[in-house]
Symmetry: C2
Subunit: 121 residues, 2 copies
């Protein structure tokens, strides 16, 4: 698990500290961990964080991109809590290791629609 240290109190977080951080649902069940962030090259906006699980040696095989704003860091858990149950994950946009989709505007729009999240900040 990533070490947050003093960054827990900061309004900024380092990308390599997000990667590897555990993700839980509100019931406290561990869903997996964040494997990477997808960033718009032009505007530097993190569009989604990829929740990964399964696989071998910590390299998840199941990948679920989630809108960044769905992640809420819980200090007591040392990980993110996402308002998401396994039923909602069933049917969510996902991909297998090595078979990444084209993360374009249409893809991220569909993702935000699926989770009912407003893409605008």
């Amino acid at each position: 698990m990533a070490e947050f240290g003093s960054q827990e109190r900061s309004s900024f977080i380092a990308s390599d500290r997000v990667e590897g951080t555990a993700v839980y649902n509100p019931a406290g069940e561990r869903l997996g961990s964040i494997s990477r962030l997808m960033i718009g090259k032009q505007n530097g906006q993190v569009e989604c964080a990829v929740l990964s699980f399964g696989g071998f040696l910590g390299i998840g095989n199941d990948h679920y991109p989630l809108p960044w704003r769905m992640l809420n860091y819980a200090v007591d858990k040392g990980g993110y809590v996402v308002d998401l149950d396994k039923e909602k994950l069933h049917g969510a946009p996902r991909y297998d290791l090595g078979r990444e989709p084209e993360f374009d505007e249409a893809y991220t729009r569909a993702l935000y629609t699926y989770y009912g999240v407003n893409p605008l900040f």
Copy 2:
């Protein structure tokens, strides 16, 4: 060096592919590599990419946060080209390994001012 693969043509890039990517100045000199991205927790905005060099085993000791928009990926170089010479780096905001500054709004504002970059997109 990070593998970009098909992401070269995409408008999105994965955080773990940015980390480790080489940074060159326009003269083609290698300045170092990107060690991490600093992200606003609330808005998911990448405020800066940390250019690191020196140190041991690829773990740089000298860290220079750069505004994200200063990075331009050059396919032929397989790395970022930043309009920056060693003279400009001298005197730039920097920190040693393990002695991270507080990345707050004042810090990033000073950073953008130093490099003459508009923080607004």
